[in-house]
Symmetry: C2
Subunit: 285 residues, 2 copies
Amino acid sequence: MTTYKKLIDKELPLFIEKVEMPDTLREAMLYSIHAGGKRIRPILMLATVEAFGQPIEKAIPAACAVEMIHTYSLIHDDLPAMDDDDLRRGKPTNHKVFGEAAAILSGDALLTQSFEIIADSSLTSDQKVEIIKLLAHSAGPGGMVGGQMADLDGEKQELTLEKLEYIHHHKTGKLLVFSVIAGAIIAHASDSQRSHLKEFGEHMGLSFQISDDILDVEGDQEKIGKSPGSDENNDKSTYPKLLTLDGAKEKLTFHFEEALKHLSASGIDHERLQSIAKFIVERDH
Amino acid sequence: MTTYKKLIDKELPLFIEKVEMPDTLREAMLYSIHAGGKRIRPILMLATVEAFGQPIEKAIPAACAVEMIHTYSLIHDDLPAMDDDDLRRGKPTNHKVFGEAAAILSGDALLTQSFEIIADSSLTSDQKVEIIKLLAHSAGPGGMVGGQMADLDGEKQELTLEKLEYIHHHKTGKLLVFSVIAGAIIAHASDSQRSHLKEFGEHMGLSFQISDDILDVEGDQEKIGKSPGSDENNDKSTYPKLLTLDGAKEKLTFHFEEALKHLSASGIDHERLQSIAKFIVERDH
């Protein structure tokens, strides 16, 4: 995972540095790109390609593209009109440093450029079209943006479990599933392998979100970077709140086991992908 | 032009209506889509395809996509953090009706979905990839978003003519040129035809902007929907300000003649495209 992360940390800024654009825009884009996330989405994509025994190099542009989309979504989510966050991973948020206008534009720029990077990669035209279609769908109104809107609509309301799963499935799940499926497309996976990997991605996405909610209740303040219980104080609907803490843990176990079952059934060399999934779900921050 | 406009007005909302998404997001997206613009970009694309004697049907998705990108850019430009406009074409702006969060998200959604629509069209994979690459470049940090950033950076400053042309070329020119070139790609134009059409688009884009600045000085308040002289009152750098009104008119004539020269040299059936260009440049609002 460290190798993949380092690779993305190195390659991702290069795509932005080589475009001619106003310095102010470049600085704002690179600030959030360098703000350093776990790079979970590109890591999942590269690990999927590798699980098929294929070279990961040709997946690097698409892996950087999905991280750019994830980064844009954080910049826009942090805006005063949205979650109004001053800090992200301990650093001032983009609009705190560059102002709201530059934050909106750097998000727009990252989103737009991500499609150019895939279209400009060395994949076949058919692969590019399939990946772009899936990425746009997963990130757009029928995916991540739709999930974000549903999340805002549902704030301060008691959500049903169904509504909560809709939000998570769209807001975070769709891009995670995309990352795995894009890896499968690049590695020329069969239809049956793709369908198992889709199930793997969906169950892992839910596991990821449930573990996040559990961490908020049980986590170590220093490691998770916020006070435990902050979701409850914000009246946020969470799995522990809807299902009790034990119920949430049971649900986590169920989804994680389903994820591993489908990963195994895909018949690929899944050892590394499995340990990445474990890391994502069992992380302590 | 009316036929093309009606076709786009009819087809464009269908792409949004068929996606499953939260009602609040759909309403906000459709509001700005229905707010009614001149549909200049899609009309240019369809007219280019027709000038090659090709059926325009296969260009409809890409034509709707570029109008979605234009619409998203207006929604984000109108936000309080950007131009802070309450009205657009006499109607309340998106954020005035749906709030800032929904306005940001509906812009993001329109931008993202535009790429899905092209990827999902009936063009060949090679055509889709070429169009997506050009659209992302024209709309992204090296294109429209870069121009918007430069415009914000240059506000309240006396701009040089070079800087003013950079802003216009990127902020509005790139999407106009894209529209013509995408039509050429769809119609399988030769390299030489493309290169003439690119020059046509660039000169027409500049003519469009210069005529806009002249309208602001000389236009009829009722027709242009704002008080003449509003640019001057806003300390905005314009062609008449940098070149005098006569100088600006001379420059308009030069660029428009160059545009028509290249259109003619492309060897396509350019009559309708020429009258559209005339309409765009010689409009009184």
